[in-house]
Amino acid sequence: MKLRCLCVLPGEHFGEEFGKINLMRKVPALRDGDFYLAESIAIMIYLAEKFETPDFWYPTDIRQRARVNEYLSWQHQGIRTHSSKVFWLRVMIPMVMGVEVPKEKMDAALEDLNSSLKLIEEKFLDDRPFIAGDQVSLADIVAIVEIMQPVGSGLDVFQGRLKLSAWRDRVQAAIGKELFDEAHQAILGAQENVKLLDPTVLQASKSKILRYFM
């Protein structure tokens, strides 16, 4: 299976060709022969099962699997929404779209993010090294990438959160630091890179974006 990278921001995902791959015009999208699949969670599970990856990624043990599924389900509304919002309110909306973000909106978004991170520490990690238990799983990967999003906006959410920091280090070690850093290069460079973006790209979706985030 080949990895084909497409750059989302310049609008490639609105092209006709991509529309055939994913009607919802979102990434990631997978194409395996004539099988098309959207939704990162579905894609990760498909890959884990198709390539028979080591059991710990998506354990066959019923309770451990349930713990992974529980996190993968909760995280959509539980953290993804909030971490994404913080990124848009801190970077995309003020820096690319040139729109000022009211203080109450930012404060509310940060409050939600903080509540989510607290829940991750207290419920999903608790006293375990990883979400499912002793070993890393898909849940930890899905968690860490969302948490890195506000970090890319210049907000160090790991500061003052010892449990979360220690878990991050473990996840990095489990994935491989080099790979982790490579994968996060774009988001960590976001504040610089967005200065190079053409603001007109988002103009068409401006009212929708503002309505959604503000």
Partner: protein, 242 residues
Amino acid sequence: MELYLDLISPPCRSVYLFATAVGIPFEFKLVELLEGKQYSEEFGKLNIVRKIPVLKDGSFILTESTAILMYLVQKCSSAVADHWFPANLQQRARVNEYLSWQHLNLRTHCAKVFLLKTLYPFAMGSEVPKEKMDAALDDMKQSLDLLEEKFLLDKPFILGDNISLADLVAVVELMQPLGSGVNSLESRPRLMAWKERVKKKLGEELFDQAHQKLLEAKGLQQEIQNSPHLQKLQPVFVKLFR
């Protein structure tokens, strides 16, 4: 096995319908949302996230309806027919794809329409502003369009010939706006026909019984307004609408 539920909640209905339809024995433990029981100290010990449904199987506690559904399939594999959550990788991926997509799409938008109609006036102390309601209805419309055009198309069910967890989770969310007087199925004959097929597969009586609390809630908005239990939760509800 215990299931902590309130059938006014769509994810509770999907778990209830599945377990009952396939014959998995469980004890129904009511957590009355309109009385704010999810905020009780007792419930907090069961689930710190303070949401339902919750499954308790011996000492094992599990939250999140989609995780619970998959747990039940795995645990009771001999009682659950393959079509619910197929072993075939690509078909299973289709179910996972829908279950993932629906959280922030159909579920969020149908729930928003319902909450704006029933909870907004109580939480915010005024009627819903027209633009807000219109925006929510527009979002719901887009999700319903995608349900029809990407997930269902002209197939009898989302996966094809037979019902799966995807149809179950979709139908309970789609029903929610009806509890607030908004007909999500209006002018959508394809979805109406699909809903009837899903209902038949689950059992018509069971489907109606599961949706009774939602549909018979006369003046839900009034009930919320008058509820003494919910008064102190008003600041919590405000957060839903900011």
